[in-house]
């Protein structure tokens, strides 16, 4: 893979982010409700002051002027101020982002670690018992929404069995191993819920991709070399089969974040997903804008990673 390819990919990411932020900004500007809404109904605030405040924050300027102003401030590291939490949006997001990234990251890793071997094994024994079980489970896992599996797990493991905590806490008062152990314990359920949901669709992608590749001519060539079936599969089938899967996974990232938002609500994880929900409910537009933009950046980042992986898996890419 050439440095050129990477550079081009990063360059393409910049206009995408600008476009996304413009759309987000416009939609939020057009949406009903504004942060000073409560001032209107508050009799203690005189109308002049209200108007002065609106003018000061430029709330009545045309959308594009406000967008340019926002973008300018954003680039200088000023993400705005949360009227509800009384703190800077960037500080607020940075407090919560690590939790979300850790949960989503762990879930993705779980999904990949489970789905690739299962999908490959299922595809190499099509219609066997293993394949049928894997397929059925994948179908079930794919059909059950995360809020359902989440509540089910809470019901079983927290309420009935009382093995795992069902509220995620950041203020764990322990240190060293104890601290890690508590964190792992409270992450098990959310990570499982998200990971298996992701893994279920991944199994199906991997299986069908492997089935497509395994009947190609070069796999027969590989078999004719006498290198043994395990090597044929791992060296010649899996790598080629993963190429389209990488793209599909990247395209699925927004769905993953959607699932993460729901999961954070259920387990009350103080991540940016639950922050998004509460700020929407509170009409806290700067936070909504900030969090959505962070999600957009994450999607673009994962697409970038997918492109890099793609270029690494498929040498033909570099030369296009």
């Amino acid at each position: 893979m050439s440095r050129d390819y990477l550079f081009r990919r990063i360059l393409i990411a910049i206009p995408s982010l600008l476009g996304i932020s413009l759309v987000l900004f416009t939609v939020l500007a057009l949406a009903p409700g504004d942060p000073f809404g409560e001032l209107v109904t508050n009799p203690n605030v005189p109308a002049e002051i209200r108007l002065a405040l609106r003018a000061k924050f430029g709330l009545d300027d045309p959308v594009w002027i406000r967008y340019v102003r926002w973008l300018n401030a954003m680039l200088q590291g000023d993400w705005g101020f949360s009227f509800t939490s009384r703190m800077d949006v960037d500080t607020l997001i940075m407090q919560r982002l690590p939790t979300t990234v850790a949960v989503i990251g762990a879930a993705q890793i779980l999904a990949i670690v489970v789905a690739i071997p299962v999908g490959v094994l299922a595809a190499t024994r099509p219609y066997s018992l293993f394949d049928q079980i894997a397929n059925t489970l994948a179908f079930v896992g794919f059909s059950l929404p995360t809020f359902f599996t989440g509540l089910l797990l809470i019901l079983v493991f927290s309420i009935q069995l009382d093995w795992l905590p069902f509220v995620y806490r950041t203020d764990i008062r322990a240190s060293g191993w104890q601290w890690w152990w508590e964190h792992i314990r409270q992450s098990i359920m959310p990570v499982t819920v998200l990971g298996l949901f992701q893994g279920a669709s991944l199994v199906r992608y991997v299986r069908s991709s492997v089935l497509d590749v395994i009947k190609l001519d070069y796999v027969t060539t590989a078999r004719s070399k006498g290198i043994g079936e395990p090597k044929v599969v791992t060296r010649h089938v899996v790598r080629n089969a993963l190429i389209p899967v990488v793209t599909l996974v990247a395209l699925q990232m927004p769905v993953v974040f959607g699932g993460a938002i729901v999961t954070e609500q259920i387990f009350r994880i103080p991540g940016i997903g639950s922050l998004l929900i509460s700020s929407i409910l509170a009409n806290d537009t700067p936070v909504v804008m900030g969090v959505t933009f962070v999600f957009a950046c994450l999607v673009v980042l994962f697409n970038l990673i997918a492109d890099i992986l793609y270029g690494w898996l498929d040498p033909r890419i570099t030369f296009r």
């Binding site: 004719s224 006498g226 790598r239 080629n240």
Partner: protein, 323 residues
């Protein structure tokens, strides 16, 4: 005949499909002696590829299955052989060149890696040694700048060059038998001649036997010592090349020979390319009796009643026709 290297005895390779059993190879026998070139000819769909892949057990099972017969390689039947033992024969003793050079190489590995892979597996070479071996093989199949090109990927090669790479892969472990399944069909006419010449050179160098599968009679005449003619999953005639061209006995073989474009005819302004009229019968429910009967101008009732057995008509010349 000298010592038989490979003996296919009454092989039946069938495929179970939704429509029923496809009898792709239905009682085929042939032998190849050490160092000889045997051509296997026949129209598209007559079972040449299935026969060839059966030898290396590269048939997908299911849907395929060995219904009957033996594939005796140096005295040992391959059909019951466990996969691990089969892998020791592949590439090291029997290797294969495939029909379609554009798809028979893995796009994500360098050609060097793909040649080196069998060297590492069968000769236990280190990475460096095996890549050196790959360079040697690329030189042998006359790829210019072999040292540099060994690190190139398949898409950086033309069709003819890729087929040279495929041949290099096949010959890397110096097999005793090379099965070449229509190695030139997918290539330009000028390249075809070069690839056949290369195969000839390689044979002169390594002395391996070749099973040359083709549907072009012209290729047979120039490259093989003996010919097996297949029709609808069966062998219909088998003879040494001169005998077959001089005295073809089966009406189908006669038709194939007439279909060779003749240079003298072309110079007179119109090529006399005679096609055999009619179509190949279905392999799903092959007709009883001679499978060529519906296209044969000599067909009589006895032909349709019972299948004509392969019988000896001259030394080394067998034919499955009642005539």
């Amino acid at each position: 005949m000298t010592e038989a290297l490979l003996e296919i005895k009454d092989l039946k390779t069938w495929f179970k499909t939704d429509d029923g059993m496809v009898r792709a190879v239905d009682g085929v026998s042939m032998t190849i002696a050490r160092g000889e070139t045997l051509a296997v000819v026949g129209e598209s769909g007559c079972g040449k590829t299935v026969t060839a892949r059966s030898v290396l057990k590269l048939i997908d099972m299911p849907p395929g299955r060995f219904e009957a017969g033996q594939i005796v390689w140096r005295g040992r039947d391959l059909i019951p052989l466990p996969a691990a033992d089969m892998d020791k024969i592949r590439a090291r003793e029997i290797a294969m060149v495939f029909q379609e050079p554009m798809t028979s190489l893995n796009p994500v590995y360098t050609v060097g890696d793909q040649i080196a892979e069998s060297l590492r597996t069968h000769h236990g070479l280190s990475r460096k040694e095996s890549i050196d071996g790959a360079v040697e093989m690329l030189k042998l199949v006359q790829i210019p700048n072999a040292e540099r090109r060994v690190h190139d990927y398949p898409h950086q090669f033309s069709g003819g060059m890729r087929q040279r790479v495929v041949i290099a892969i096949a010959l890397a472990c110096k097999p005793q038998l090379l099965i070449a399944d229509e190695p030139t069909t997918a290539l330009d006419v000028t390249i075809q001649a070069q690839i056949l010449e290369l195969l000839g050179d390689m044979k002169a160098k390594f002395g391996m036997a070749i099973m040359l599968i083709t549907h072009a009679m012209g290729v047979v005449a120039e490259n093989a010592q003996r010919v097996v003619v297949m029709y609808a999953g069966k062998v219909v005639e088998e003879a040494p090349v001169e005998e077959l061209f001089g005295n073809p006995r089966h009406p189908y073989t006669q038709g194939l020979i007439r279909s060779i474009p003749r240079v003298d005819a072309r110079t007179r302004g119109h090529a006399r390319l005679e096609q055999i009229p009619g179509t190949v019968p279905s392999l799903l429910n092959p007709p009883a009796g001679c499978r060529f009967a519906n296209r044969c101008r000599f067909a009589t009732d006895p032909c349709r009643d019972s299948e004509p057995p392969l019988r000896q008509v001259a030394p080394n010349h067998k034919v499955a026709c009642i005539l």
